[in-house]
Amino acid sequence: MSRTVRRRLITGLLFISPWIVGFLGFTVYPMLASFYYSFTTYDVVRSPIWSGLENYTDLFFKDALAIKAIYNTVFYAAIAVPLGIVVAVGISLLLNAKIKGLALFRTIFFLPSIVPVVASTILWIWILSTNFGLLNAALNAVGLPKVGWLVDPNWTKPSLILMGLWGFGGAMVIYLAGLQDIPEVLYEAASIDGASSLQRIVRITLPLLTPQIFFNLITGLIGAFQVFTTAFILGGASGTAAVGGPANSLLFYSLYLYLNAFNFFKMGYASAMAWVLFLLTMLTTMIVLRTARTWVFYGGVQ
C-alpha cells in the first residue's frame, strides 16, 4: 500500500467513523446479544439462563398465541400489500392522464400519508365506530346493515387494511415519478399502430412501471410484517381489556413480541421471535428477488 493510498484509507475511515461506531454499537452488538438471548430464559431481573432451543420450539409448537400472531400478520400482508399496489397504481394511472388540476388531486391523495399515525388511528376508530361511526352511517344510508368494524373479529383486519389503503400516498408519488420517465414516443408509436388505451397501459405502462411496483412490493411486505402502532392503538380501543383486539384478531407479530418483552418480561422469548421475524423477512425478500427476473423489466428504452 503506497503512502497516498494509506492516507486516503485513513481519511476515508475517519469520515465514516460515526457510522462505524453506530454499526458496531447499534447493529452488530445488539444482533449478537439478541441472538444469544434467544437461547435463554431472561426476565431482566435475574441474569439469562441458557435454555437451548426451547424458545424456538415453544414459538412454533406450543404457543397458540404466537401461531395466531403469525397467521394475522401473514393474512394482513398477503391482502394489504397487493391491494395497496393495485389502488396506488390505479390512481397514479388516472393522475398520469394529462388531467387538469393534477396538483390538487395529488395533494388530496398524498395528505393522508403524512398524518401522524396516532392521530389517523384515533380518527379511524371514530369513523369505524359501530353505532355512531361515519362509515356505518353511510352504509345505513344506502340500506346496508351495520358492520362491527372494530368489534367483530372477522372485520378487524379488513378495517386495518382499509386504514392502510388510505395512506397509500407515498407509493403514489413513487409511481408518478416512474410514469413520468416513460418516453412519450412509445405511446405515440403504439397509437400509430392502432393500439387502444387499454393496450397501451397493459403493454407499455405496466411493464415499464414494474421496477417501482417491485420496490413497493418489497418495502410493503417488510412494513406489513412489522405493523405495530395501528394495531397497538386499535387493540386497546375495542373495549376489550386485552391489547390484541377482539378474539386476538389484531394480535400482530410485532405487537405480540412487544408484549412478551415489555409486559411479560420474557426477553429471551421475544428475542427468539425477533430472529424468526428477521429470517422470515430475509426469506420473503429473497423469494421476491428471485421472481423479479421473470417479471421486473429494467430499462433498456431510450
Binding site: 460515526p18 345505513n140 388505451s197 413497493n216
Partner: protein, 301 residues
C-alpha cells in the same frame, strides 16, 4: 415553413391519437369522474376530523351526520388543550426532533462524504454493508438496546433531559438511509470541483464543509424533513423509553389522552387536529422537497 410543418404534424398526430374522436371525450369523462369520486372519499376522513372537532357533544351521535355544526364550537380546542398538555408535549417533541435533524444531517453527510469523495480501498464493499443494514427489522436490535439504555440509566430517569437519550443519541451515528440519500447526491456533484480545491491545498474537511454541504442543500433538506417527520410520528420509541408523563411526546401523549377520554370524540378530534396541523402546514411549505424526497427513495431502489 417549419411552423406550417409542425402544425401539420401535430394535427396529424392528434388525429392518430384520436384526440377528437367521441371515445376520447368519453374516456376523459370517465377519468375525471373516477378521480373526483376517489379524491372525495380520500378527503372525507380529514374533513370529518375537523368537523367533529368543532361540534358540541349533543351533535356527535346524531344521524344523519352533521358536517358543518352551527355554531362552531372553537372552545373544544381550548378544552382539549387543558386536558391534553400540548405545550410540554410539543416542547419535548421539538427538542427530540430538533436534535435528530441536526445530528442526522451532520453525521450522515460526513459519512456520505467518506463514501463518495474519498477513494479508499474496500469502500464500495463497506457501502453495501451500509445498505444491507436497512433491511434489518428494528425489533431484532430493540431488546439489547433497551437493556443497554437501562444499564446506563437512561430509561425512566427522573432527570428531565436524560431520559431522551435513547431517542436522540443514535442520531449522531448517521442512519443508513440518510447516508444513502446524501451519497447519491454527492455522486452527482462534479469531482473536478473537489480536485481543484485539493490542488489549492484545501483539506478534505474543508471541502466537505465549504463546497459539498452548500451544494447538497436539496438532499440535506430531504433528510432533515424526513427525520423531523420520523421523530414527530414515532410511537414505539417513546412508548418503550419514556416512562414519566412529563417526558411524553405528542404521539405518545395523544394515545394516552385517547385512553382517558375515549368517548369525547370532539375533544379527541381537536387534539388529533392539533397534532396533524403542523405537519400539513409543513407539507405545503416544503412540497417540492417532500415530493422529490419520496420519489427519490423509490427511483434508486
Amino acid at each position: 415553413m417549419s411552423d406550417v410543418r409542425s402544425a401539420v404534424i401535430s394535427r396529424l398526430r392528434s388525429r392518430l391519437l384520436g384526440k377528437h374522436a367521441p371515445s376520447y371525450f368519453l374516456e376523459r369523462g370517465v377519468i375525471y369522474a373516477l378521480l373526483i369520486v376517489f379524491s372525495a372519499i380520500f378527503a372525507i376522513p380529514l374533513l370529518w376530523m375537523v368537523s367533529t372537532s368543532l361540534k358540541p357533544r349533543s351533535l356527535l351521535f346524531v344521524f344523519p351526520p352533521v358536517w358543518i355544526p352551527q355554531p362552531m364550537l372553537w372552545r373544544n380546542y381550548y378544552d382539549a388543550l387543558t386536558f391534553f398538555p400540548l405545550v410540554p408535549y410539543l416542547a419535548n417533541t421539538l427538542y427530540i426532533a430538533g436534535f435528530n435533524v441536526v445530528g442526522h444531517v451532520l453525521s450522515a453527510s460526513l459519512v456520505a462524504y467518506g463514501f463518495s469523495r474519498i477513494d479508499w480501498p474496500g469502500r464500495d464493499k463497506v457501502f453495501i454493508l451500509v445498505l444491507s443494514t436497512m433491511m434489518l427489522p428494528g425489533v431484532v436490535t430493540m431488546i439489547p438496546l433497551y437493556l443497554f439504555w437501562r444499564r446506563v440509566h437512561m430509561v425512566g430517569s427522573s432527570a428531565p433531559l436524560h431520559g431522551f437519550g435513547p431517542l436522540m443519541l443514535p442520531a449522531l451515528f448517521g442512519g443508513a438511509f440518510n447516508i444513502f440519500l446524501i451519497r447519491q447526491f454527492f455522486m452527482s456533484i462534479p469531482e473536478e470541483l473537489c480536485d481543484a480545491a485539493r490542488i489549492d491545498g484545501c483539506s478534505e474537511l474543508r471541502i466537505y464543509a465549504r463546497i459539498m454541504l452548500p451544494l447538497a442543500r436539496p438532499a440535506l433538506a430531504t433528510v432533515a424533513l424526513f427525520t423531523f417527520l420520523g421523530s414527530w410520528n414515532d410511537f414505539m420509541g417513546p412508548l418503550i423509553y419514556l416512562t414519566s408523563r412529563d417526558q411524553y411526546t405528542l404521539s405518545l401523549g395523544l394515545r394516552q389522552f385517547q385512553g382517558q377520554y375515549s368517548t369525547q370524540w370532539n375533544l379527541l378530534m381537536a387534539a388529533s387536529t392539533v397534532v396533524t396541523f403542523p405537519i400539513i402546514v409543513l407539507f405545503f411549505f416544503t412540497q417540492k422537497t417532500f415530493i422529490q424526497g419520496v420519489a427519490l427513495t423509490g427511483i434508486k431502489g
